[in-house]
Amino acid sequence: MMKLYQRLAQILSVCLYNAYIPGFFKASIYQGMLKTIPCPGLNCHSCPSALSTCPIGVLQLFVSYGTYHISLYVVGFLGAIGALGGRIICGWACPFGLLQDLVFKVPLPEIKIYPLVEKTRYVVLIGLVGVAAWITKEPWFCKAICPAGTLEAGIPLVILNSDLRDLIGGLFFFKAAVLGVLLLLMMISKRPFCRVLCPLGALYSLFNKISFFRIAVDNDACISCDACHKECPVGIRIYQEGGGSSSCVRCFRCVKDCPTKAISITRG
């Protein structure tokens, strides 16, 4: 049941973030006042239907050109969400998370991602979104990696707009290749982008240990049956890593599926 609620919330969030359907017919983007609100999940604002702004794009913009190099508005917005639920947006309201969950349904053998590799997301956050954007004044995450930008903005706008079609070059094909590789990885691994590359997930994961809503594991009641691991969308063993694990996306499926009720939601 929890899985159904989570899926419904994910679909609802995709619809809310991308409610400007006329954008696809006009081959342009929404230009109304809702663009003053950052999107809590990873959703490219250059998508023809996007209503809000990508927080990672704005962070890079301020790092590059802002007078004090940090967007207080966006950092405060993301911090407030993180303080309440840690990575809860990754689990319940990220369009790219939904895509990864759906693509993983392709029946192929699964490969594991080493915990050390998962730390790469912090390198992406500090290195690409922070230092590289500050030094070169270019949004390197958006430019070279962001698969959400390629999928939601690049491909639709290139198909719909002939002027933009004439501008595509090597970088576009490179980004399309990155998206292709990630889609392949999504079929054989649980949420590889969230775990390894997403800077937004890295930012939210800093709050996982201290957020208001947390997951608590009662080790005395746990029988190590691995029921939580089987259902986990990021494939962690919460009874080993603890409720404050930085990889946990707070989907709360484990809370529902634990046969001994050793996992619970706490607040405080």
């Binding site: 490219c44 967007s71 508005y73």
Partner: protein
């Protein structure tokens, strides 16, 4: 006389309060216990400061133009 009784009652009430529940006797413990709330309030203040500095307008002017970098063109 009545005033003295009230003060005495207040003093008695103060001494019987259990401050260990809130962690007031140890600031570090208090901070750990209410970390999420402190961070939440700090984040809201940070967001308000950004709003007052007109950051949302800069964000708006950035987001209403098609981002060629996001598309992989520019």
């Amino acid at each position: 006389m009545r005033r003295g009784v009230v003060l005495e009652t207040r003093y008695f009430y103060f001494t019987t309060l259990n401050f260990s529940d809130t962690g007031w006797e140890n600031p570090m413990k208090f901070f750990k216990k209410h970390c999420a709330l402190i961070l939440f309030v700090a984040s809201i203040l940070c967001m308000a400061a950004g709003f007052m500095l007109q950051e949302h307008k800069m964000m708006f002017s950035y987001a209403v133009v098609v981002c060629l970098s996001c598309m992989g063109i520019g």
